[in-house]
Structure formats: C-alpha cells, structure tokens
Amino acid sequence: MRACKKADDWMHFWDALGQLRNGDEMSNEDATPPSAEPELSSRESLITQDMHERKGIWAGERLSPPISESDIRKWAIATYWPERPPPIYWDADYAKTTRYEGIIAPPDFNPFAWPIERAHPHLRALGARRGGARTRGMNGGQTDTYGVPMRPGDIIRSRTRLRNWEEREGRLGLTLYTYTETEWTNQQSELVRRRISTGIRYRV
C-alpha cells in the first residue's frame, strides 16, 4: 500500500464541495481550485477576529424532517450497491428480533438530505473564517463519534460550533487547520452523532 499524493490538493477541493452538497461542515465562500504553483505565503497569521468571536459558540441550529423507513432502505441499497444491504436496515420483522427491536439507520445516514430550502442559512454559521487574507479551503477529513442509532420517525436536531484551530507551516505555506464540531441529537435529546471536521485553509 502506498500513499497517493499526486492529486491530493484537487481531491481535497472536490471533496470540500461534496461536503457542502450535504449541507455540512464547511464554508465554500472562497473555495476555488488551488493553483499548480501556489504563491509563497507570508508569515502573517490567517486567524481572524471573527474566529475568536465565534469560538465555542453553538450556531446553525436546524431540524431534520422525520426519518422514514423508505429513506433508510434506499440509503442502504445505494451504499451497498450492487450487493444486498443487511436486513437491520430494511426488514422490520427481522429487526424486531434484534436488540434494537426495530429498523435502524446506517450510522452515516444523512437525515438532512433534500431540504426544501436550498440556500442553507446555517452555512453562514459554519464558515471557518471570515475576513482577513484571501484563502482557499479544503476538506481535511472528519471523525464521527456515534451515540444512539437513528430510527424511523426520529427528528434530528443539528447545531455547530467552531471548536479550535491551529496554524502551522506546510507545503502550501502557512496553513490554518480549523476544527468544527457538529452535534446531532434526537427528539429525546440523546446524542446521535458528534462530528469533528477538519478544514484546511491557505493563502492564495
């Protein structure tokens, strides 16, 4: 196994946009493809006053529509394609015999897909950085911690905050890594998922 570095920058850019299509985690205010030869950055910090003001403050709260059995089934079929997904995701009779006593959703299920409102106002709350030098953004990945599973009928509440950041010199110059936390809870206020997303920004 070997690491593939050839297309790293493009991939991060594309996947950052992919995340946005989920209505999640990153701002695309200035997401543009990185140039082949990025300019040398100055040592001036990319951390803005806006980041200090928003650090740790929950924002971008929204509610999902009720989760349906059919949405779960279709999600499982799509992500297991062309194989048959496990019955816990689609067979109610089988699911009743399990410790969950009913159908559950795959952990990666997105209950916020297909919003009526296409311009996500919560994205304003998710922007990792406003003001300061012009930067390009990439998706540095994510870590999810899962609590209780999502089930048919659940309504998921989401909120987000800028948790912390670090700045260090990288191959793209001075690079800002921001860590954004998104918390999902169900109608019983039980934790469903906590995602820490890593945003990567560098000067253009």
Binding site: R2, R21, N22, P86, A113, Q142, D144
Partner: protein
Amino acid sequence: MTFNVYFEDVRVGDEIPPWSRKTDFMNWNRYAAVNDEFVPFHMDDEAGRAAKNEQGAFGMGNLRYAYLVNALRDWIGDEAEIRELGCQYRAINQKHDVLTVTGKVTRKEILEGEHRVHLETNVVNQRGEATCPGHAIVVLPTRDPSAPGSREADRAMRDG
C-alpha cells in the same frame, strides 16, 4: 447476522475481511440520489475534466466513508456498534476503480462498560493507493455472561 465476532476472539493485529466495490456511475448516481449530492463533476465526464480531472467524473468522498461503515458493519454484525470512525480523503476515486476497505486491530480495551476494539482503517484502490486513511472504534459483545454489554445482560435488561 446479529453478532459476528466477540471481544474475546479478536487479537491485536487481526485484519477485518476485505470489503470491495467496483465504482462507477451505477454507484455514484444512486448515492447522489439518496444524499442529494448532484455535483456535476460526480455525474458528468466533461464536468470532471473541466475540474481538471483528466479521466472525467469521479466519486464522492462521502460514499467512501459509507464503504468504511459498511465494511465494519459486515464484520461486526448488525447488533454490535460502531462507536467512532474517522478518515482523511487523500486521493480521487476514479471511474471503474475497485475500492477495498481494510482494517487492522490496533488495541482492545474495556471502557465505560463497553468492550471496545480500535482499528486502523483505509480504502485502497486497485493500484494499491491508500485513498482514505483513518481509524475506527467498534463495541463488541463479550462471552462473559456477567459482564455489562454481554448478550445475556442486554436481553435481561430488555425483558425486565
């Protein structure tokens, strides 16, 4: 499926069964449909090339994340739990790539009454490129019937 593997049966260094998919529009379009992820460069070769990927359209990072979830689920069974999963996206999923999820046990622990197994994970393509390095924590059942989290304890709690 229920439980496939017990905590006591897992050893550090064990590898999970490889989980593979050959990916193209049949997978990507279905994922776009359920996740509302209709980004042109995931759906159209011309748009992919316009986005500087010479081979055209390419797959979604989120779908690779789903493959990691599914590989873990198929290994542990549908009553065990995935507690944590993280990854970084390091390479493009090109059309017709065969992606294989890999996982290797790095640590075992009993924490907060849960029998947890830690793994390093990845999604590797047919060229051996590591496209999505990451880690996972799964919670497995135990063969100790008196332990919290055992099937027996779980059923006793459920049945009152």
